[in-house]
Symmetry: C2
Subunit: 332 residues, 2 copies
Amino acid sequence: MRIFFSDMYQEFYRIFKKTGFIEDKAQLCAKLFTETSLDGVQSHSVHRLNFFLDYINKGYVKIHNEPELIAEFGSFERWEGNLAPGNLNAWFSMNRAIELALTYGMGCVAIRNTNHWMRGGTYGWQAADANCCAVCFANTIPNMPPWGSIDRKVGNNPIVFAVPRKEGHIVLDMATSMFSYGQIESHAQRRESLPFHGGYDSEGNITDDAVEIMKTGLPLPMGYWKGSGLALMIDLISSALSDGNPTHNLLKPRDQHGVSQVFIAFGMDKLQCSAYADTLVNEIIDFVHTAKPLQKDGKVYYPGERTLNTRKENLEKGIPVDEEIWKKIIAM
Amino acid sequence: MRIFFSDMYQEFYRIFKKTGFIEDKAQLCAKLFTETSLDGVQSHSVHRLNFFLDYINKGYVKIHNEPELIAEFGSFERWEGNLAPGNLNAWFSMNRAIELALTYGMGCVAIRNTNHWMRGGTYGWQAADANCCAVCFANTIPNMPPWGSIDRKVGNNPIVFAVPRKEGHIVLDMATSMFSYGQIESHAQRRESLPFHGGYDSEGNITDDAVEIMKTGLPLPMGYWKGSGLALMIDLISSALSDGNPTHNLLKPRDQHGVSQVFIAFGMDKLQCSAYADTLVNEIIDFVHTAKPLQKDGKVYYPGERTLNTRKENLEKGIPVDEEIWKKIIAM
């Protein structure tokens, strides 16, 4: 079934109000959840709502708390997240990084003791909408084995890159694992193999067998040693710059709350590069679009291109949702 | 055979002087080449010298040129590389980013019309030596097919992350291809398969057959679509921020000169995070070191750890070099 944007927004808004969010925060939280769903990322919206509310009930996520400025150094600021909702904190942090970028040319916010930012790409789109390039990254619980190991000692720490473009922004939002937990799970449920190596089996062999990977809980870093190294660097830099928790402090007793995140923005107008960047970015996209496809009827996409297509279709036709899950949301 | 650091430095210095470098630049260039060799990265030092000198002879690399400031916005500066040697320009740019970071907390230098930076990790070590965290990236000629294509339309654009640590810095230096050209070539020469998928064969299948990949010239992005997306974002951001050449302008007629690079540094002292970062970084490394290894006698390494081991060994015993290549260098 399909639900129109405004109807979905109203349901999320109703639930967040009922949960106790004040007016402004209920509106922003509903907007972020609905936009994520509109873009087709149900894993971090409709399918994540229970998880989000559960963390509020457990007291991990404190809906009345606000981020607090700890230290400021011109274009760089350090904030205490006070365990407020991760998506609201992340939105706030990127907004602040954008304000710094509009003032100084470049801005960076490091925030500690925050929570899961839900869809990381959201903050890339946010920056690009303000005509900023952006890089953001975050740590997570230890949920991935570093290369050479079968022991979960790094996070699948996500990283986001964004570049503004009038015809549609370019936004890359990726975890440092090869596949997300959700992708492995859905392949396992359908008893399908992953398209490529995605984790380890119980004998420590690299495999594309999703059922085996669900059993071992050992996902593969993207690009083997490269994703493993990148995950470690993200943990080091985000916790060092924010004075926040590193990955190894996030599992017990914290159950992934109190994470560390970094938001960097470059203001294209302030840096006087909008004029040539507008032309340049289109040229680069055009060049990549002319790449000969591997499959006969294939097409090469830039990061974010399919999101734009999905967004357009879902705005017109409504957002596809699982009927059972949607019934439960309406009944909340 | 092994050559001691000071002897290798003298040879490089002699050659760069003979090539026409002024005193200061001959010294720095020799230092950078020798340190890269000391760290075991011969592909970007001893084995790269001919390539480097060839580009000077062709007039692509202009050894008497200096970088020039185009625009400054506090913590962000844009520089014109004037086609000066890429390693000297990159060293200069990271040094300037460090100076900005020591002044403002964070610093960024975007440089255009520069040249191949040789070993990218060099500038990560440089930043970490100044107690800075760093992120740097660069574009290259189109030498890799974007995901979904068998047409070289993105670069294997490298990215470097660095975190300072008294006991030895953590430095990740990676291309966005799964394997470097040098690795594929050396496997092909030995008729060995790559340890994992590394490119495409002539029928467009993903393969670990190094000989086939050498034939097609189609390396695989690291992590498939992820490395492809990352390579594109690096090209977009580095050329947009520097007002420089994007990848698609670098092939003809430029033959990979005039590339675009970005250097970001965070000053840990200025940002008042040295005290806790010193402890934190060691904790993170200790945690990863305790990961149960996949192989019985295996060990989990952090990025840069083996470099430190190699550096130590080569400082004591001399730097291992190919005898034939070394003879040619001495005869230059």
